[in-house]
């Protein structure tokens, strides 16, 4: 997967590049809007991450010209301005998502993965498997080590989310939004409690732990192949 990061702030740009590279992406980094446009038009990227405020061309301009050139590569905006009109403008111009600075890197990574997954969704599976855990999405049933595990509806949704995005660190805000439709930051530790309960059912009786905590960032489900 090839990504372009256009960010005029050197430190931010370098950290983004490092983080995304370590997450397994191939990342090009530019610092001006003009370079961003040139790169975006000459190379085939899977995703553009554009800062709105850049010298030369700003993010909007780059997006407009990229779209005008007939490229429908997904675009994620980074903006320090949290104005409704900014959002509307970006979405009207055809941006796919935006993040307001300061943002958590785990949040960015989760959004990047969502955008990259969009369009090439794998065929709908009805069963998923990780290590010795099997989940039947149709019957909403889960079995680990041959033993049936009873889950509440929300616990099952949480498990499904973690499974579908196996190997990804999911920030708490994303979990709250996907499972409970809570689309704002809540300063309570509901997600921690929910994960703890799910663990009690899925992991506690087994030596191989499937749910992992990325401290300060979120939770992840993974198992060695």
């Amino acid at each position: 997967m090839k990504l372009l990061v256009a960010e005029d702030e050197l430190k931010t740009g370098v950290y983004l590049q490092q983080g995304l590279t370590e997450a397994g992406f191939n990342v090009d980094r530019v610092m001006t809007g003009t370079d961003a446009l040139q790169y975006a038009l000459s190379e085939a990227y899977d995703l553009l991450i554009l800062d709105v405020m850049m010298p030369g061309l700003d993010g909007w301009e780059v997006l407009r010209m990229v779209r005008a050139a007939g490229k429908d590569v997904p675009v994620l905006f980074l903006t320090a301005r949290d104005g409704v009109e900014d959002r509307v403008k970006g979405l009207e111009l055809g941006a796919d998502d935006y993040l307001i600075k300061p943002f958590a890197f785990s949040e960015l990574l989760a959004r990047v993965r969502t955008l990259l997954r969009r369009g090439n969704t794998p065929p709908t599976q009805t069963t998923m498997k990780i290590a010795d855990l099997e989940v039947d999405l149709m019957k909403r049933r889960s079995i680990r080590g041959g033993k049936r595990i009873d889950l509440t509806a929300k616990e099952f949704s949480l498990l499904e989310l973690l499974l579908r995005r196996r190997g990804e660190v999911l920030p708490k805000s994303l979990i709250a939004s996907q499972v409970w439709d809570m689309n704002f930051d809540s300063d309570t530790n509901v997600i921690e409690v929910a994960i703890r309960r799910l663990r009690a059912k899925i992991d506690d009786d087994f030596d191989l732990k499937l749910i992992h905590t990325a401290r300060g960032m979120g939770y992840m489900m993974d198992a060695p192949e």
């Binding site: 689309n183 300063d187 309570t188 509901v190 300060g216 960032m217």
Partner: protein, 458 residues
């Protein structure tokens, strides 16, 4: 008129009024006097004409007519401006006073009783014609009586000249008077201006004194003072807010700096560095959330929060939030209950956030084993949602300040609970206000309730 000062305008208006009044008065006086003089002249002419008739009627024949002439002359001579001409029917002059002037031909045929007038050079005349029948004479005689009224004209000329002089002087004097009156009348206005000019961010507590201001300006001064009060309040709030921001950010920043420096001062194993970074991350996230919240409040202050208007069933929102919070409630052995329904127009995300804030707040302060109850009631024109929980009674001094930014009822909680920056209730309030609603808190006998009143959709 647009750019003239108020004083100049008032002086001009004052002057125009005086000119108008004087002109009307002058014209009326002039017309009345003219009329009066005309009446006097007519009366004199009629009298003399009657006397002349009387004299001539006494005469018999040509001879006796000439006998009567001295009598006639004596009659007319008594009036120095009066002249007479008596003509026979064939136009011969029978009698003519030496002062008699050439009368235009047309007046010889003039109607009796109607007075005519004409101008000859500098002189102005009025006259009357009468046909006098004399005994023994086949045709009546024509008598013309002429009055020289030149001195009347002179009088009116003089009168008019002095009238114009008087008018100009009065106009100037009234303009000057108007200026003086306007200046003194507008003095309170200048005082208001002076205070307004001297106003700066530092002197917002100054007010314009109300006592010396005339009635007409009191409303202006009241509005101005009210504006100052609002400005002062907003300014104080803003300064406090800035100070609070600085303070609130300083604590986590100093934690970050100290911790990082301490860790770096010695070589450590990798877990120590990790530990430091994790701890820093938590601190940074807290700061980031605080900045988000403060930006939200700043936007709310500037009226930039514009809620969408979708129809929302509050009971549904509560049910969804209970779904989210019930895990936490179970952990603390707290029960959640909801009663009633109510539909409002509002922004789903914002109202979610409001009720979520109230619930998480209630969860924080409810003792184990108790119940948090949400009540939705409909009144005449509003929907009231109350979140009530048993807990320590909040004293009234704290109640008022609960919605203030960075306010915490318990100061000790400040550092202890990093997730609670003390902005939650302020945000809740600004959202409710953006929805044209009202929020308040009650706390009596161990039961604390937060109540939201939202307008009922029509």
């Amino acid at each position: 008129m647009k750019h003239l000062s108020l004083t100049a305008r008032m002086s001009l208006m004052f002057m125009s009024a005086v000119i108008a009044v004087l002109t009307v008065a002058g014209l009326s006086f002039n017309m009345l006097s003219q009329h009066h003089f005309r009446m006097l002249d007519r009366q004199a002419l009629v009298e003399k004409l009657e006397s002349a008739k009387h004299i001539l009627n006494k005469a018999r024949g040509e001879a006796s007519l000439s006998e009567e002439l001295p009598q006639l002359r004596a009659l007319l001579g008594a009036h120095q401006d009066l002249a007479a001409t008596i003509l026979t029917s064939d136009g011969a002059v029978l009698f003519s006073d030496p002062r008699a002037v050439e009368v235009p031909e047309r007046f010889r045929r003039a109607n009796e009783q109607s007075m005519w007038e004409w101008q000859n050079g500098q002189h102005m005349y009025r006259g009357m014609t009468a046909q006098i029948s004399v005994a023994d004479q086949p045709e009546p005689l024509t008598a013309l009586l002429i009055l020289d009224v030149t001195n009347h004209t002179h009088f009116f000329d003089t009168l008019q000249r002095w009238f114009w002089v008087g008018l100009i002087i009065s106009a100037l004097v009234s303009a000057a008077l108007g200026w003086v009156v306007a200046r003194s009348g507008l003095r309170p206005l200048r005082q208001v201006t002076r205070v307004a000019t001297a106003m700066s961010a530092r002197s917002l507590q100054e007010r314009i004194p109300l006592e010396p201001v005339p009635l007409e300006l009191q409303q202006l001064v009241l509005s101005f003072n009210a504006m100052l009060a609002r400005l002062e309040e907003a300014f104080i709030r803003l300064s406090n807010f800035s100070a609070d921001i600085a303070h609130e950010l300083r604590t986590p920043l100093s934690n970050l700096m100290t911790h990082t420096e301490v860790v770096l001062s010695h070589k450590r194993d990798i877990t120590a560095y990790e530990e430091n970074l994790y701890s820093n991350l938590e601190e940074l996230k807290r700061m980031s959330r605080m900045i988000d919240d403060m930006l939200f409040l700043a936007k709310a202050d500037n009226g930039l929060i514009t809620p969408e208007k979708t129809s929302i069933e509050l009971a549904d929102v509560v049910a969804k939030l209970f779904d989210y919070y019930h895990l936490l409630a179970e952990e603390h052995d707290i029960r959640l209950s909801v009663a009633g329904t109510g539909r409002v127009l509002g922004d789903r995300l914002m109202l979610d956030r409001v009720i979520s804030n109230l619930l998480s707040n209630a969860l924080r302060y409810t003792p184990k084993g108790k119940t948090i109850s949400v009540l939705i009631r409909q009144t005449g024109d509003s929907i009231i949602l109350s979140v009530e929980n048993p807990g320590d009674t909040i004293s009234s001094e704290h109640l008022e300040k609960l919605f203030d930014r960075f306010y915490r009822a318990d100061p000790a909680r400040r550092e202890g609970n990093p997730s609670n920056a003390g902005l939650g209730l302020a945000i809740t309030q600004s959202i409710i206000e953006a929805h044209k609603g009202r929020i308040w808190c009650t706390s009596v006998a161990g039961l604390t309730g937060f109540h939201i009143e939202l307008p009922r959709p029509s």
